[in-house]
């Protein structure tokens, strides 16, 4: 063999007599007439992978100011300021509670080395990679993106990719069939007019891709650029979660643990506890706003709909669900905001991102208005352990916070629907359900524990307020 190689080398070294020159010229001539594959960049953009490390987006309401990202960052380019807020006790005679309020979250992209450690370590899935990379500035100070700007990037975050054949997906056999069934079930246009529909649709979409839902640690999905009018049910069901499909942060945490295999269970518990704790704490601060929203939203205790209202300072407070006709068309909103932003001097990409956010908001509002239209109350998609119901809630997408109502079918809703249930019973029931679904032991146990905990906390006071508490960490 080696001799052969040597011989080839010797042959290659032999002097040629101009034939090599002509061969070289032939290659060039061949290429002259070939169609070339250049991508005309600013006009045509390459379809980058969702994993592309372009810019880090912040889902502000998920941040609990745990400072893990700032600590782990090798470049120390994340700046977080926060203050503690004391909240009045939730119940008579309770202890006053403390919670962290995020004042500032900034990433200095002039320093950032795009390693992604912050995204990886975030226990509450507040950070995501977006593939947007066009945010060069003339002034280096502009490269420090404050939390508003970072939140804007959320509109561009893509759902994670499916995994390659043979990828290890702990305890999650394909759920394609039931998902499809669920999709067709809910895909009737008439059903789309109900408040619950988006929830069931998105959850079934999640179901359709159990792979990532379970394994990818940051199953953040977004109303991305693809948040093009996807409000109609069939669309949402057939294209994998174009709207939103994101397991509760708690779940994501469990999933991370899953990868750690045997040690997972041991760790899962405290994590989940923390989750739940955060959630309960969070609930208080939002109480007022949510109360308002609650009052205006036609949600019934049985419905899986839960108000999701983390309004940023700038955002308008939630208002009564307007009629559809009064609402701005999504495309109009897009154009308007784009115009405003460019007039205000924002850089084009920021303007575009903000415009996209506006479009998503407008779409949401439309969906909501349709849902709130004086028809009947949403039917519960929960009965008899339908996959959509028991599946972790496809929480509001990592879109910038919007004052909107988002139906939510979450695991904890089970005990919410029967407030008086014994925590242990909840534990057993959820465990059973999870097993039936085919979740791996660890996941099932973790979820069951989470449910038990929530049930335990919520045992005293039922009602809407308690439901809010179940929706997960929301700070």
């Amino acid at each position: 063999m080696a001799l052969d190689v040597d011989q080839r080398l010797e042959r290659a070294r032999r002097p040629g007599f101009g034939i090599g020159l002509l061969k070289g010229m032939r290659v060039l001539l061949k290429h002259l007439f070939k169609r070339n594959s250049v991508i005309q960049y600013p006009d045509v953009k390459q379809d980058l992978s969702p994993r592309t490390r372009g810019v880090i987006a912040l889902k502000e309401e998920n941040c609990t100011v745990c400072m893990l990202c700032a600590r782990e960052c090798p470049d120390w380019c994340i700046y977080i300021d926060s203050h503690k807020e004391t909240l009045p006790p939730k119940r008579e005679g309770g202890r006053p509670r403390k919670r962290n309020v995020l004042d500032r979250f900034a990433i200095d992209y002039a320093l950032c080395m795009y390693c992604g450690i912050c995204v990886e370590v975030c226990p509450y899935d507040a950070l995501f990679w977006s593939r947007e990379f066009e945010y060069a500035e003339y002034d280096i100070r502009q490269l420090t993106h404050e939390k508003e700007k970072l939140s804007d990037w959320m509109a561009t975050v893509l759902p994670p990719t499916e995994l390659e054949e043979g990828a290890d997906i702990p305890g999650q056999p394909s759920k394609a069939a039931p998902a499809a069934a669920a999709a067709t079930q809910t895909a009737t246009p008439t059903a789309a007019a109900t408040a619950a529909t988006p929830a069931s649709v998105t959850s079934s979409a999640t179901e359709a891709r159990p792979g990532q839902a379970q394994t990818a640690p940051r199953e953040g999905t977004a109303a991305t650029e693809a948040a093009r009018p996807a409000a109609s049910a069939p669309d949402a069901a057939t294209t994998p979660a174009p709207e939103t499909a994101k397991p509760a942060p708690g779940l994501a945490e469990e999933v991370k643990d899953q990868q750690m295999d045997s040690t997972a269970e041991a760790r899962a518990e405290p994590e989940v506890k923390r989750d739940a704790g955060g959630a309960v704490e969070a609930e208080g601060s939002q109480a007022e706003v949510e109360d308002k929203a609650e009052a205006e939203t036609p949600s019934t205790p049985e419905s899986t709909a839960v108000t999701q209202t983390p309004p940023p300072a700038a955002a308008a407070p939630s208002r009564p669900a307007p009629r559809i006709e009064d609402l701005e068309q999504p495309e109009d909103a897009y154009a308007r905001v784009l115009d405003e932003q460019s007039k205000a001097g924002s850089s084009p990409q920021v303007a575009e991102a903000r415009a996209k956010v506006a479009r998503v908001k407008a779409e949401r509002a439309m969906t909501q208005a349709r849902a709130a239209a004086p028809q009947e109350v949403a039917p519960t998609p929960e009965p008899s352990g339908a996959p959509g119901a028991a599946e972790p809630e496809p929480e509001q997408g990592p879109v910038a916070p919007t004052p909107e109502e988002k139906p939510d079918s979450s695991a904890p809703q089970a005990e919410a629907s029967s407030p008086g249930e014994d925590p242990e019973a909840v534990f057993e029931r959820v465990l059973e359900e999870e097993r039936a679904k085919g979740s791996s032991d660890a996941v099932a146990t973790a979820r069951a524990k989470a449910a038990r905990m929530r049930a335990g906390r919520g045992a005293g006071s039922a009602g809407p307020q308690e439901q809010e508490g179940t929706k997960g960490p929301n700070d």
């Binding site: 020159l21 010229m25 290659v27 060039l28 290429h31 070939k34 594959s37 250049v38």
Partner: protein, 334 residues
Amino acid sequence: MIEITLTDWQILLVKLLIILIVVPVGALVGGYVLHKEMAHMQHRLGPMYAGGWHGWAQTLADGIKFAYKEDIIPASADKRVFSLAPAVIFVPVLLLYLVIPIDQNLIVEDLDVGLFFLLAIGSVGSIGVLMAGWSSANKYALIGALRSAGQLIAYELPIVLSAAAIAMLAGTLSLVGIVEAQDWPYIVWPPGIGLALFLLFLAGAMAEMALPPFDMPVAESELITGPFTEYTGMRFIFGFFFAETAHMIAFAAIGTTLFLGGYKPIVPWEPLEVIPGVLWFFVKTSFMVFLLLWVRFSFPRLREDQLQKFAWKALIPLSLVLILATGAWILYGP
């Protein structure tokens, strides 16, 4: 119809003006062709934005950009020589266009010794290169200049000898005369010798213009830009880029005139005679430019000593042999 009568001097002035306009424009177009051909051969698109359609105004934009650049003269440079050098390079290139017959009667001055004029003027530019390299007070520039001079001395001979053979065949030094004397098929005329002379001329021309694979004087990976390392702005563009492109087009035109039958139709066929000679000339020159660029992008560059060896040991003996063969052909050929 107004009759305009011009004196000889006025006609000459008009012709010179035309040259002054045509050459820079030609250089711009040539630069654009260079960009585009290179890009497409390299699986790229090349300029696409400036001017809209396929970036047609790219070279113009480049020129304007360079015009706005600061003219920097290094502190330790010989300022007078440094500033004069680009002109010494560019003016001879302009002069080359004086004697090239674009059509039978479309020529600025049909010199009796037109061919000789071309060769003589073409060699003056190297003094400019030497001036540029020496006055820059930069080692790389000086090495580039010396390489350029050595190259010129070595390759002047093959060019002169191949041109001499052509003059022998045509029996005149006038370029119009040479074109008129050529028969179809031009390039293989006389058989074998013509093609060999053509290749000889091509090699010599590329070496004289310092085009790859003979671009050692400006070899960017070794000498940055050779003699032009310290130049910026308009001096750079006139001394280097403009002169290079204009030089290339001039040599393409000379090659067309000497070997490809100039303004005559490609094949001697009656209907083709209708097409004006200017067009034929343009087509043939374009082909020559394409050929020069094609060779240019295909090869790595030689080393200076290899180039000298190639010139002295291969090209010059070959050209002498060819002169002999041409003489024999004239004496004993058909």
